[in-house]
């Protein structure tokens, strides 16, 4: 029954304890809704058939509702709605009261990606690892505009607000990978602000987090800049490429061709004379490239929209320099060579 209704209503799979509760209320509510609206529609059609106009000048009797009818039309819907409310509110209170033993994960939204940080140390971009069968509390905030964390398979959603923490919790019931979507409109790439929850068996999760901590300790020796989420490996340009991937730069900037996307291509960009929207022409040198990351709307290239988010405070100096190095390495005569770094 549950499976049939779920499929009929196109609901995603139920992968949290909350999903079962909420879906059963959903079935109840939607069946009543369909029966009532079809009932009203059918009654109107039945009345039409029974009382269709037979003569041009037909007179009709005066009919007024009785007191019983009036009481019924008020009390029946009111009763029904209050039952829905009682169940829905009970479940909502449960959803807003995380159990004290819940594991915490900090979630940070920014245009246009998710960052997940664990109190134990590791953090990751886009992928949230959680254990099955253990309550997990998400503490959510945003670095820029409002976003909203939505995990359809868990039936949970909570806005990410700048300057505030909101919370939501769930207990995942099935291992697997589930999509995270942003449901608060946040700009040009809103519809691509996706992430993923990976639900691991509890033991596998413990193993994973230990692994992460080991990696973190060893990484700290190498990493000059502790704020970077991407460890430096190989040349500065290769590190710059990893940072650019992690920061989502490549969603709007092409690096494998000179084709423009939402933003200008990076190939052959370095030292190129570039025309701006205000008519000025500048040379895309190191200073300009860095400025474009930190204050992107000051000098916008002609033909593009000023939609790039501000990376001031989100990129460290070393990371910005690495991205500049990466851009410098992107020459159309050498592109293949630079992209070869992918294999490492």
């Amino acid at each position: 029954m549950n499976e049939l209704m779920r499929r009929l209503l196109f609901l995603p799979e139920q992968a949290s304890t909350f999903a079962y509760d909420v879906d059963h209320l959903h079935y109840f509510v939607i069946i009543v809704t369909m029966v009532s609206s079809l009932g009203v529609g059918m009654t109107a059609i039945a009345f039409f058939w029974k009382y269709r106009r037979r003569r041009e000048n037909q007179a009709t009797p005066f009919v007024a509702p009785t007191a019983v009818f009036e009481v019924l039309v008020i009390s029946v819907p009111l009763f029904l709605f209050l039952v829905w409310f009682a169940i829905g509110f009970r479940d909502f209170v449960k959803l807003s009261s995380p159990p004290p033993e819940a594991m915490d994960v900090y979630v940070q939204g920014k245009q246009w990606m998710w960052k997940f940080s664990y109190p134990e140390g590791p953090n990751s971009l886009g992928v949230l690892h959680v254990p099955a069968n253990r309550p997990v509390r998400l503490l959510i905030t945003s670095r820029d505009v409002i976003h909203s964390v939505f995990i359809p398979a868990f039936r949970v959603k909570m806005d990410a607000l700048p300057g505030r923490y909101t919370e939501i919790w769930f207990t995942a019931t099935k291992t697997g990978r589930y999509q995270i979507l942003c449901t608060e409109y946040c700009g040009a790439q809103h519809s691509k602000m996706w992430g993923e929850v990976v639900v691991l068996a509890p033991e596998a999760f413990d193993e994973w987090i230990k692994e992460q901590q080991r990696g973190l300790v060893s990484r700290q020796d190498v990493l000059a800049d502790e704020t970077s989420q991407v460890s430096q490996q190989g040349s500065l340009a290769q590190w710059g490429k990893q940072v650019a991937v992690a920061q989502g730069c490549l969603r709007c900037h092409n690096v494998d061709s000179r084709e423009p996307a939402n933003g200008p291509s990076w190939v052959d960009l370095y030292q190129q004379p570039t025309k701006l929207t205000d008519g000025r022409e500048i040379i895309a040198d190191e200073a300009y490239l860095t400025e474009s990351m930190m204050e992107p709307t000051v000098k916008v290239v002609a033909g593009y929209q000023p939609i790039m988010p501000n990376y001031q405070g989100k990129l460290s100096g070393a990371e910005a320099a690495a991205i500049v190095e990466f851009i410098k390495s992107l020459r159309s005569d050498r592109t293949v060579q630079a992209m070869g770094g992918e294999d490492q």
């Binding site: 909420v22 939607i30 109107a44 009345f47 007179a59 829905g88 509110f89 909502f92 009261s97 409109y185």
Partner: protein
């Protein structure tokens, strides 16, 4: 019962078109632009609103075409974001809010009260020009500045967007004044200009609905004006009202915005409910079942509508207590609406129902209002909303109310009152065909969107994961059917304006007061102050001729 309802079958020549009426009382452009006649102002509002409906419809079709495939289809992301902003703003502020109250309300409210005009005819004209000025500024701003915030202007996105949003916000601010002036004008008109015999409980139900609407317009719109000013000030000068880094509150905007925009839903839907009450009596030729319940539930909706706004913020970190309180209050709107629905269905009981285009639209209206309204109650059921919030389920729900109910009401009004306004009939067969297409196309467009919401597709998505593709294709197909229906209506109504069969005073045999004046009505509406001796929805055993109003003086 000898008096014929329509004289077409008894008088071979058919009813004569009146020689003098409001349409030919001055035919220069100047006589239209400077008119104080509520009927002409109503017609001008209607023309503007219909243009807005077609504009908004074209934007909607572009959106649906873009969503035909999961990736980019015909436009780029930024254009898509601008397009849904355009669609929302044009449909809501230029069509939905003024169409029925300012269009049909202006035309019929004074006639339904037995008055010559509204209380302040010059204000009435001023409010039309304010609407035009605000709309033009808003459209100009949208097209040149390219605002991409959605019609909801959520801060801090709207206060930090790089697109030029200030003219759009000022446009909305100005349109607000038009809404307030019209509302105030109608309230004063209803209080002071009722003819002898039109007591409060003998007012047509459309008047009650417009009265409730006007109260909301006067009380809620100032809050919208204030909010748009705050956003433009923050965007232009960097005030920190909504920016937490400067002590502002990012959620404050949502509270202010929905304090207006939730009641604004009732500004749109209450007049459509009023139309429903008028039309259902005329097509069933039957007294309205439970007049007082319908009249009072309009006021009830207007009242509780002010305290339900928080149900838009269930997932924004609001406390569980607040969420519960707002949810419980929202349920009451459902109860008031249910009262109306049962009374409309009751009106059909023992009636004499004619199968006409207006009847098709009121059946559609009933179905859409019940389904859309109950999904609204479902959305107000707090725990269910967590999954549905900001998904296509919400989009489908409010389109069921706004396109389903409001546009059905608008089309029912347009067909029902067309003979009165222009003195000619529309072709009934074409009317029924278009109504069928629209009801079908509407279901085909929005039922897949409910399912998309269930499946978890967020709204305002330019691209989407492949698993949502099939339902999006179905929705786009339905939208094409809907568009086709509208085009048919536009064509036959335009032809009927000039070549339609002459309607005569009362082609529907309706007892509404407005059917007592010639079609089209003369500029002064009535030759003398009318005295009404019967109610506007009474059909019992009184021959039509005797039911006409008597004229004092």
């Amino acid at each position: 019962m000898t008096a014929p309802i329509t004289t077409t079958d008894t008088a071979p020549a058919g009813p004569a078109f009146p020689k003098k009426h409001y349409l030919n009382d001055g035919t220069t452009i100047r006589s239209w632009l400077l008119t104080h006649d509520h009927k002409r102002i109503g017609v001008m509002y209607l023309i503007s609103a219909i243009i807005a409906l077609f504009l908004g419809g074209i934007f909607a079709m572009v959106l649906r075409l873009e969503l035909l495939t999961p990736g980019p289809t015909i436009i780029e992301a930024l254009t898509y974001n601008r397009m849904f902003t355009l669609h929302g703003l044009v449909m809501i502020f230029m069509f939905m809010i003024p169409a029925i109250p300012s269009g049909f309300g202006n035309f019929f409210l004074p006639i339904m009260l037995g008055a010559k005009d509204v209380a302040f005819p010059k204000w009435n004209l001023a409010s039309y020009y304010i609407y035009l000025a605000g709309s033009s500024l808003m459209l100009w701003g949208l097209i040149t500045g390219g605002a991409d915030t959605g019609w909801t202007f959520y801060a801090p996105y709207s206060t930090t967007t790089t697109t030029n949003i200030t003219p759009v916000l000022l446009g909305v601010f100005i349109i607000g004044f038009s809404s307030i002036l019209t509302g105030l004008n109608f309230i004063v008109t209803i209080h002071t200009l009722r003819a002898p015999g039109v007591t409060w409980f003998k007012m047509p139900l459309f008047v009650w609905a417009v009265y409730a609407t006007s109260i909301i317009q006067v009380l809620a719109t100032p809050v919208l004006g204030l909010t748009t000013l705050l956003v433009s000030a923050e965007h232009a000068f960097g005030f920190g009202f909504f920016d937490p880094a400067r002590g502002g509150d990012p959620i404050l905007f949502q509270h202010l915005f929905w304090f207006y925009s939730h009641p604004a839903v009732y500004i749109m839907v209450l007049p459509a409910m009023g139309v429903q009450s008028e039309v259902i009596c005329a097509v069933a030729r039957k007294n309205i079942f439970g007049y007082k319940m319908i009249a009072m539930s309009s006021l009830g909706i207007a009242f509780v509508g002010f305290f339900a706004w928080g149900h838009h913020l269930f997932t924004s970190g609001q406390s569980a207590f607040d969420a519960g309180a707002f949810a419980a209050i929202s349920m009451l709107v459902g109860v008031f609406t249910a009262i109306k629905v049962f009374n409309w269905v009751g009106t059909l009981y023992k009636g004499a129902i004619a199968f006409t285009a207006p009847f098709a639209y009121i059946c559609g209206f009933l179905f859409f209002l019940v389904f859309g309204g109950m999904t609204g109650v479902a959305l107000a059921t707090v725990s269910l909303d967590v999954h549905w919030q900001d998904t296509y389920f919400v989009v489908a729900h409010f389109h069921f109310i706004m396109v389903g109910a409001v546009i059905m009401g608008f089309l029912a009004a347009l067909h029902y009152w067309f003979p009165k306004m222009f003195g000619r009939k529309y072709p009934e067969n074409w009317g029924l065909l278009a109504a069928g297409l629209i009801v079908l196309g509407f279901n085909a467009t929005f039922i897949p969107q409910f399912l998309l919401g269930n499946a978890g597709m967020p709204r305002r998505y330019y691209e989407y994961p492949d698993r949502f593709a099939a339902l999006n294709v179905a929705s786009t197909a339905g939208a094409s059917l809907l568009a086709f229906g509208f085009i048919i209506i536009a064509i036959y109504l335009a032809i009927s304006l000039k070549y339609g069969e002459v309607a005569g005073r009362n082609p529907w045999g309706s007892r509404g007061y407005e059917w007592d004046v010639p079609s089209p009505p003369p500029t002064e509406n009535f030759d003398a102050v009318p005295v009404f001796t019967r109610g506007p929805h009474e059909y019992q055993d009184v021959p039509e001729e005797l039911a006409r109003v008597s004229h004092a003086i």
